[in-house]
Structures are given as structure tokens and as C-alpha cells.
Subunit: 217 residues, 2 copies
């Protein structure tokens, strides 16, 4: 498996390809490549048994594809823990580093690293590390865009894209913070939040809020 193919599987998983069909365009956007390249790659992933592809509809991961993606994500998150906890990296800087390392990590290395880190449950962005907990976390957790208005929730995970992390940090939002959705305006693409600690009102784009996950308390 090439790092390139691994990236496709991981993105597919992150876009919900375990349970739903992911359209090519979303993958193209996320990886910053052209749509024809995605079509081509999907056919190759189908041939290798990682993906089920319905032309003009989108792709779903097979069982094997899902497992593979989860293992990659586990490696990614283990490295993030190491980089932050032991090497003193800033939490916003670890994503690109882990993105590279994950492709160069054998199962044996991941296992030894995990033991060395004392079996951490979550990565610095709140993502579950054990492949079994990944699905569990998915069930308990909901996109901020779907959280009920007025209900207090806790920020449990932030999709670890460099620029997104910066965006949320700029708006004083981080893992563990308690917030309450005050208003959601679809036409203006705006969500207004009440921050539990600072007691301030925060406004963020609804589109971007998709990358923020919260847990009901």
C-alpha cells in the first residue's frame, strides 16, 4: 500500500465512508486533487478490495478498508500523543508531522509506542486511539451543527486539520470546553455559542462548525 492510497482510505473514513456513500467531489476537495484523479483511484481501490464504488454516486469502505483506515488513524493519534507529551510540540503543529509518520509505522512499532505512552485513550484533539473506541466515540458524539439549541455540551473532538485548529483556537474553543448552542442561522451560516467558562458569546461559521464534535453531558 502506497502512502497515497492510505490517504484516500483515511479521508474516506473521516468523511463517513464507513456507513455512507462519499461523493468524489468531497474527496477531491479534501485532498486538493482533481475529480478525475479520484475516479481513477477509486477504481484502483475497488480492485484491491478496500472500497465499493457506485459510479456517479460515491464510495463506501469495505470491512477491510474500514479496518485499514482505523489502524492508520490509530498510528496517527499515537504519534500525536508522543509529539505533544514527550517532544513538547504545540498541539496545533503535530498534525502534519503525524500525517507523515503514520505511513512509516509498522504494527509492531505502533504497539510498542502505545505501550511506551502508557496506552493513552485520546489524542491531543480528543480522538479515540483504540480502534474499538473509534466507533463508540462516533455514537456518543454529535456534530456541533446538530446539537440541540439550549442544551449544554462538551467539546470532545476537533478534526485535526491545521487551519481548522487555528480557527477554533482564534475563537477560544478547545477540547473539554463546555458550551451551549444559543442560535443557529442557516441562511447566514452562523452558530452562536455561549461559552461555559468565559461566559462569552462566540459566533462561528456553521460550515466550519461541522468539524467540531460535542458530547451531551
Amino acid at each position: 500500500m502506497s502512502p497515497t492510497k492510505e490517504d484516500y482510505l483515511k479521508i474516506l473514513f473521516e468523511l463517513g465512508g464507513r456507513t455512507e456513500q462519499v461523493p468524489n467531489k468531497e474527496i477531491a476537495n479534501r485532498l486538493s486533487i482533481s475529480p478525475p484523479t479520484v475516479t481513477e483511484m477509486m477504481n484502483s481501490l475497488v480492485k484491491a478490495g478496500w472500497v465499493v464504488y457506485t459510479p456517479y454516486k460515491g464510495s463506501k469502505l469495505t470491512h477491510e478498508g474500514t479496518d485499514y483506515a482505523k489502524k492508520l488513524i490509530r498510528k496517527h493519534r499515537l504519534w500525536e500523543v508522543f509529539l505533544v507529551k514527550h517532544l513538547g510540540f504545540n498541539i496545533n503543529a503535530v498534525h502534519p508531522e503525524a500525517e507523515l509518520l503514520e505511513h512509516s509505522t509498522s504494527t509492531e512499532l505502533a504497539d510498542k509506542l502505545e505501550a511506551y505512552l502508557d496506552f493513552p485513550e485520546y489524542c491531543p484533539h480528543g480522538g479515540a486511539i483504540s480502534v474499538d473506541m473509534m466507533e463508540e466515540q462516533e455514537v456518543k458524539t454529535v456534530h456541533l451543527t446538530e446539537a440541540a439549541v439550549g442544551e449544554p455540551v462538551r467539546i470532545s473532538r476537533i478534526v485535526d486539520e491545521d487551519k481548522l485548529l487555528q480557527y477554533f483556537e482564534n475563537h477560544d474553543l478547545k477540547i473539554g470546553d463546555r458550551v451551549k448552542v444559543m442560535d443557529r442561522d442557516a441562511s447566514l451560516d452562523l452558530i452562536t455559542l455561549h461559552h461555559g467558562t468565559t461566559e462569552k458569546e462566540i459566533q462561528i461559521s456553521q460550515t466550519i462548525a461541522q468539524y467540531l464534535f460535542v458530547e451531551y453531558l
Copy 2:
């Protein structure tokens, strides 16, 4: 720079390309690829300024190429220290792991890792880690095949190829051991050693002995 190109630079350095012209065949053998591929790659490395190539003669690293190779080797050795000292890898198992990791290691990561490891001087195979010490070590150190008969020496470095390490372990030779060359027979390709600790006589192939470096005491 692709991992592939990085591998060529590193091999070139290891084969003495800093000071001498390395013929294509040696590179082809070491990387297990065909000679035409080496020719092609050398032209590409020349164009990028890493290598000076004399057709039918061989390749030398430019100053930039040497620096690049040294940095890669530093990363490789830092990972080896981490894998052995912290993750508990067997010394003979770390080479392939480090081989992958080195290509996914930013300078920032290498620097932080080095500090975390408390600035080790040598990798588990005895190779110097600081890019400045690499040349120094080269000067003080001589191939076992060139050590004077009867002179006591200390094994200072073993080229870290998986199979070679196994070979030397099978013959009870490891970093730090004191040995004395008793006899060298070019026609039989045999070197006879006296082991300082076990007081035993050891015979190894002269061809393979090239990958063993010793330091005069």
C-alpha cells in the same frame, strides 16, 4: 525530495561518494535495482544539484548532496536510539524501521527528538549522530580489512544492514569488542581474528569484513 531520491543520496554517501566516484553498479547492487535505472536517476540528481556525474565513471556527491545525506543519516540514527532505548526494540530490528521513519522526519522533529534523547553521540551500531562527528569518525576509523596485523583494535561501527548485523552476531562480534587481526588471506577471502574478551579465534569473510569498522587504541 522523494524518499527514493533520498535513498540514492544516502547510499552514495555510505559508499564513499563524498570523496570518491561511486560506480553505478555498486549503487544498483545496494538498492537492488537495475543499472539503467541508476543512470537515469543520476542524471536527475545532477540536474537537481546533489551529484556530479562522470559518464562511465561514476558519481560523487556535491557539497549540498553530502549535507543532505548526512542529515538523513542523523535522522536515521536518532530514530534507532529511540527505538532501542525507549521502545525496547532489538538492535538488529531497528534498521528497517528507521529506514522508513527517516524520510518522514522534519528538521524540527529531529531536533526535538535529539533533545528528548539527551543528545546521544552514537547510534546502537556505533555510528556518530552529529553531522560534524560523522567525518571525524571516518578519519579515526578504518575498515577491518585494512587494520594492521597484530595491532589490537576496537570494533567501533557496523554498517547497519539487517543481514550483516545477523552475520556479525553469529560470529560473536559486537560494538566495543577488542580484537586483533591475526591473519589475512586474500586468495581465500578470509580474515582470522583473535577476540580480546573470549580469547577465541574467529574467522570471517574478508568481503563482508568491509562492513566492519575498527578504531586503533
